[in-house]
Symmetry: D3
């Protein structure tokens, strides 16, 4: 499993802890726990799922105190069962308690994404379809959320508005048609950028074929329509299905033969995985 | 309804849009949509819920272009039905398209929180219980998430580690007992700060009574235990229930007579409310 | 003594040193002192007082060069006499000279606060009164100034506008009266937040009693009035005196029986403690 | 009077207000003052002094609400008497109350500096001496403090380590002597930078004469020694006196004939000028 | 011509001006030019070239004073001759003088890039080749430099390491071969990302054909080799030539039939275009 | 050779790498190079020149991975020949490849400046003239560019608008004449700041003599005029020549006897020195 670069999360975590302690500090730890008290605690899962973000969580503890040391038992992308320990942290008790919430907040969120992605990926096993995300991400968390999708076995859609051209229904609302617009765009566009176009109907799809388009997004089509679309495209473009993607529907969508299935809910409606911090007696 | 201060979200939104356009800009708008094309679009809900974050969403459009103007039809805290328009935006089509996703990402998240909070608040109507959040928030979003809870009719628990003392089970794991620890803490603590202590059993609660504690957190108790706890406390402390709080259980918890019910899921497991941007023909 | 978290001062100190060296660097050290010259110097007090900020001062040296090492002889909160050495720094002479002023600027300021606080605390010894600060702080330095107050034996008033409700005369200027305003406020306010109200007269105080208020600020009252106020309150609220608080007056104020005495001058009119850097021959 | 550039204070003020409101906002204003209540208030002095920082104070109000308008009656550098109004602010009562403390904190500090500087400047009237500051400033506030010195009629010493060469006693502690060091330095130093050297005795001064030095700092000399030093220098260098500079001593120092008198206390031990915010009935 | 988004340059320009004025401000303007003096000045070219960055230059003036107004006579991408005025600025003379250098520094750099790009583009007119840049950019300026290339009629290569896969000689130095490496990579790579591979010889090129590669970079080949490479590829990949690209060589390279010619010197070795600020009498 | 302080480049380099990897990371390294592959590579020059920025380049590698170690063979200011290795880097192959471009972009730029400066310095050897830069720098790079000038043997002109007074033609366009303006300025100006005035003709120069001016900038004069100017000044001011300074002209300018020759092209029109990264087999 590859890892996020610290530049992609260090400021987020530092700012979060800084804001959490504010001008005053962690009043509870500071005034209730002796400064010289050390402790050991484990990050343990209370649910089955997929790990993502363990290095970020451990970084949070290290931000609070450079005296904290840890042992990591699992890497991101690993399956966890209820009771599994991902890592053990040792150091000043005050610092562990101060960092606990920030560490768990980011970890449980990322594990939630990885876990749901992994379920989707398993549901389409044996088909050609790959599971991908969207730009429907939480502000400030895109790099982390997209990484969590990869931890769950998915691949990533474009990362930002600068990553690929994506012409959607709103781009066509009363504007340039594809026939003139796409060739004009291609003249100004760098040669490293792909072009994707969204269609809602098979009629639209037919108009699209033959244009210099790399990917077609088949939005809100039924499995039957998707199957027909895949046949129409016949390998000339990458086919991507979106809309109504859930654990219940994803298998049937995949069996239509599309290359890619994208789901906004993977990142916009995340159910946190339940992990906690257990202090050793 | 009060409003967030722009200082609480401007940097988040600017950074998000800046990262989204990257070095290259919005390739699709820039190269597909004519620079002089104007458009009008509405932010419309596709689901029933409670509005939260409309000013932040509108700010996102204004970040992309100062030429964008808008009309706002609803304020945060309003109920929305499927089809309701919250606001209409007019200006350069390129800019509207560039800002669309960032605006909706933050808005659908905040409305999701406000909507679930509002359902919880309605579920306990007629009891003395108030619904509150926790520090189980998404990194970088605490101010926005806690505001969304207020939009849904909830009140806020402490905002950070500097807002109140909160002694939980992990603080007691092998450390100072309450009997010496709390009086020692009170001597160093400013006079404006409240002290809350978590208990898991009625036995613990009995030990706590008589100590200078403002709030007791009754964690993971059954409704019957909560009722007994409320009677034991007899108004000497504020009572707060937590654990297993859901739309299904919250009424029964509230009927135990507790003052406060806190739910982490309000902010850590948010289901986005479905809102979209409809371009006017 | 607890310590500030590095997040609370690192950026301040780095920015200060960065601005001090600017585009050009420390011209004097760079062009006058050989690069390979090492030196040892001590931070020594030239006055009696209380130490505060020694770790921040040492951090300033480390910012300029990671080759600097130090020995610390005293912790924050210690009493110092003229001639006492708080720490000794060794490393590249250039770096020590570059950091010297920033280190001393922050240290002498914080020691100044701790020293005056400590004098006030000693002046009220034997009474129930505790010395506290206000929000009358220098922009950018609140966390450091409030920490220095704690180093001197004081406790902290609220840290920011988000830390407690504080209704002062200006809040009442033509607005909602307490009788409707405070209950309305309590409905929206989280259960962890205390409410303080300022009164200038005993008549106002009488009106306040019975309202859900945690702390009463008795502003600019004579010792006699304060005594009467304390009797009127009779333990139903915490009593805080403010106005005309100085080393000369504080004992008499404390003997009125108030719980808290707050002084803005502790942080808004600081006389720096004289500490210097002595190079070892 | 020239003005600070907004780049020199906007971030300081925004960060201060942002930290003051934190995640939660101004709880008192938000929950006690109606959102639609407007108010007018004046910034008034309660003491005699010199104004400095009025634009920064007004900026603080504007940061909190762009709906705030103001009238300014005095510019920085003006003399104020007790009761004088410097400006009047009108707008949402909540916003005025939220900004009040930040505005006054910076204003009273800067006026304190300008006032003391002005007293020093008056004390030396008729001599050739000009009053100047040092680098003994509060971290984060150097631009503002040095500007306040100018408001009081002083001039500024170097702004940072990059502004001039300044060889002090600590630079000589066991290092290169002036005779080789200064010529070597001049070869690497740009032609726009002046060189100042500190001496403590007349013997040192004699050794210095003839070297390519622009300014001599005469540290901790008696008025008699200063007079002799000025005669020795005979216009070949600018003469600057420092050490034991106070309102009591400054006239006698000036009468020695030195060109410049520098005082660290102007910025390191500031007594705030008493200004307040009066709400109009 | 499209425009850069202000988020892509505002911070750069503000920081530059802030650092330029430092703690002290623009000493010359402040102390030599009266505060109430107004002036008008034109940005004029002293050389033939292509305009790029005019909005950024004008922004620099507006940063220094919001009282500055301007008229713009030309848009980015326009040809300029010696003597042409691009814009006229009016406002406080102090502010114009303070901003002058920052404005011109960025403008002359960007115009230099646009001008050289435009010459290259003209040199290949009539061939299929498009001129493109590289990631050999000045730190902090990539968005501006790549935009300047577009102003000159070029197109952009990938913007960052996240924009496309680009396998170069150093990636192959003792590592995975293409045959296993590229298919493995394609499984993890999102469907919106293109793959480019660098080859130095025709033998390497032959090995590459048939692999799922979108673009081949033909590095340091002679025109004859390039011609042969283009024939070998036969439209199955986009062909890009690099190495030894200059105004002298570019036409011959283009006539080989390659699709793209990339030049690092466009951004790493920029000769500024000579533009100046002329004050109106 | 002195060194830049890390505060002067760390943020620049971190931001550049962060922007380069974006939300996605280095797609090529991550998905093509195995995580556990280590490599060694050398920074080698392909041209003759002067080294500048080697520590910054090495820092770039360390930003990407703290596991990278290096050996440095040369310090800034050293002469390099084609084939010379400046340093060798070892560590994770992925990290080396990710950092390569940022490291080389900054290094080749700085070496380009040092190399050209060094040629100028050699060209004037034996005269009294010193080579200096201007404020015509690339936004964000001034500290680095001016340091590179020092690496090449030049000295620096003022670093910013706060470093010296510099009255140019545009300052005089219709404003205060020198005769009143300069004495007025001197009264407000600190005693550590020098005053420089630009003249274009010998007539202007004659008017200037006798005013309290430290440096005269002789702009765009012929060698003959410069000689005459130097004689007129007769040591009363430092003489600086500017305009039409190139490797071809600089010797003749220097032989006029001026003290300083300043060149904008040293920093505004930099030709990068060709250095590359060679992986060891």
């Amino acid at each position: 499993m590859e890892q996020l670069h610290p530049l992609q999360y260090e400021e987020l975590i530092k700012n979060e802890i800084h804001a959490d302690i504010g001008f005053a500090g962690d009043l509870t730890s500071t005034f209730f726990i002796p400064a010289d008290r050390n402790a050991t605690a484990s990050i343990a899962s209370r649910q089955e799922g997929v790990l993502s973000g363990i290095d970020i969580a451990l970084f949070a503890f290290r931000v609070v105190s450079s005296e904290i040391v840890f042992e990591k038992y699992m890497e991101d992308g690993s399956s966890v069962k209820a009771g599994d320990r991902a890592a053990t942290i040792s150091g000043p008790a005050r610092a562990i308690l101060t960092a606990e919430r920030t560490a768990l907040n980011v970890l449980t969120h990322m594990c939630g994404i990885a876990t749901m992605t992994s379920r989707m990926v398993k549901a389409v096993e044996g088909t050609r379809a790959r599971i991908t995300d969207t730009r429907k991400t939480i502000p400030g968390l895109r790099a982390l959320q997209k990484y969590a999708v990869r931890c769950g076995g998915g691949v990533n859609h474009r990362f930002g508005l600068d990553g690929a051209v994506m012409i959607k229904d709103n781009h066509l609302a009363g504007f340039a048609g594809w026939e003139e617009g796409i060739p004009a765009l291609k003249k100004k566009l760098g040669h490293t950028v792909k072009v994707e176009v969204e269609v809602d109907t098979l009629e639209q799809l037919k108009r699209l074929i033959g244009l210099p388009v790399d990917i077609v997004l088949l939005d809100n089509m039924t499995p039957a329509q998707l199957r027909e679309a895949v046949q129409l495209v016949a390998g000339r473009m990458i086919t991507e299905a979106s809309g109504n993607v859930s654990l219940e529907t994803v298998r049937e969508i995949a069996e239509s033969g599309v290359d890619i299935i994208s789901s906004g809910a993977l990142t916009h409606s995340v159910e946190a995985l339940d992990l906690g911090l257990d202090f050793h007696p």
